[in-house]
């Protein structure tokens, strides 16, 4: 029987994870998760309360994910990620089990999302206008995205922009927003009520914390057309600078951030190009998020 994950007790979730698996439906991606770490129940319950879940799994699942405790050769406890006999990540310290779940799920979707185009980019929407934010590590993409979400933009995704090539529209795929290092404090200070998980320290990306997506984002299944693509770059003390790019150059930059480019044939590439043909592309360097909001208000009139 399908219920929302937030309706389940911790004991029900933990029992499912340790036995036949917890079924989790994340906007059409059905995941079956097993784990004997005892460290997934609390973060899943806190971060995914409005996602349909099954404690008696039934039917087809796109991804069978296992995160199990193992032991480092020096005797330290670690966690091992497995998806259908594949393990793309090294074992990590046991207390990083939740981070490994989030990274592993991203990897599964980027690797095996069928015909969808998957871009490494955050995407938010307001007034039917989707704003895509590709970004290298350190660009401030997630901080930028979180701040927009708390200023009223709808979260479609913090990490993976998924385009249906048939319609050219971005499919919503809201999951917890991942914040790293100084971003955690910046967002906590600007938005004290943000529902934030505990901090996971000393990961390979530094310290990490996750923000629960707003209910309104999880409750909306509306796909939207890309209107703007902005390549953000945080530069300390910099004045805001917004530079328009040609579509050809902007699209080439977007392609560099596309995970499954190797799966595109000529027709798929043409469909992808068509989906962004009305899109405007910009480089944005910034240091002040309030300046960014004023700029976007002007840009997205």
């Amino acid at each position: 029987m399908t219920r929302y994950l937030g309706e389940l007790t911790h004991q029900e979730i933990e029992n499912a994870l340790r036995t036949d698996g917890l079924g989790l439906d994340i906007f059409g991606f059905r995941c079956l998760v097993t784990s004997n770490t005892g460290l997934l129940t609390s973060p899943l319950h806190f971060l995914y309360p409005r996602y349909p879940a099954e404690i008696i799994p039934n039917g087809f699942f796109d991804f069978h994910i296992a995160l199990n405790e193992s032991r480092h050769f020096l005797g330290k406890k670690t966690v091992h990620f497995l998806w259908e006999d594949k393990s793309p990540f090294p074992d990590l310290p046991l207390d990083q089990a939740h981070a490994l779940f989030e990274w592993g799920l991203n990897w599964c979707i980027a690797t095996a999302s069928g015909s969808d185009i998957v871009i490494h980019a955050a995407v938010v929407e307001r007034d039917g206008m989707a704003l895509v934010l590709p970004g290298e590590p350190g660009s401030g993409k997630s901080t930028f995205c979180a701040d927009l979400v708390f200023k009223g933009w709808r979260l479609l995704s913090d990490e993976l922009t998924i385009i249906d090539p048939k319609t050219g529209l971005v499919r919503p795929f809201p999951r917890p927003i991942s914040l790293k290092n100084s971003s955690i404090d910046i967002v906590a200070e600007r938005h004290p009520a943000a529902p934030m998980s505990g901090r996971i320290t000393d990961t390979r990306k530094g310290d990490i914390a996750y923000i629960r997506p707003p209910d309104s984002a999880v409750d909306s299944a509306e796909a939207v057309k890309i209107s703007r693509v902005i390549f953000p770059k945080y530069i300390a003390h910099a004045e805001l600078e917004l530079t328009p790019l040609t579509k050809a150059f902007g699209f080439s930059r977007l392609l560099e951030n596309t995970f499954n480019l190797d799966l595109l044939n000529k027709q798929g590439f043409a469909q992808y190009a068509d989906s962004i043909s009305d899109t405007d592309f910009f480089d944005l360097s910034y240091s002040d998020l309030d300046q960014v909001h004023r700029c976007l208000a002007e840009l997205c009139k």
């Binding site: 579509k247 050809a248 699209f251 000529k266």
Partner: protein, 84 residues
């Protein structure tokens, strides 16, 4: 050098397609409305190149019968065309 492939130049543009697309061997070129640049992409090699439209037309004229998608960048260089 690999076996030459006959170049095919198909104009796929249609009234409802806002961007123009041309296929050249295994390379597809995308030209957006009101822009003087063409983005070239080889699905085989994953190469991406940008040249301006006159350069793109010159490229097609210069090699109407032969081409190697994997050697696109060298071809562009030989013809003195820009690479971004």
């Amino acid at each position: 050098m690999r076996t030459a492939k006959a170049l095919t130049l198909h104009n796929l543009s249609s009234a409802d397609m806002p961007c123009r697309q041309n296929v050249w061997g295994n390379v597809i070129g995308i030209t957006f409305d009101d822009e003087d640049e063409t983005l070239l992409f080889s699905p085989v090699s994953g190469d991406l190149l940008i040249c301006n439209t006159p350069e793109w037309e010159k490229l097609i004229e210069a090699s109407p019968t032969k081409g190697f998608e994997s050697e696109l960048s060298q071809t562009l260089e030989r013809l003195g065309l820009s690479q971004t």
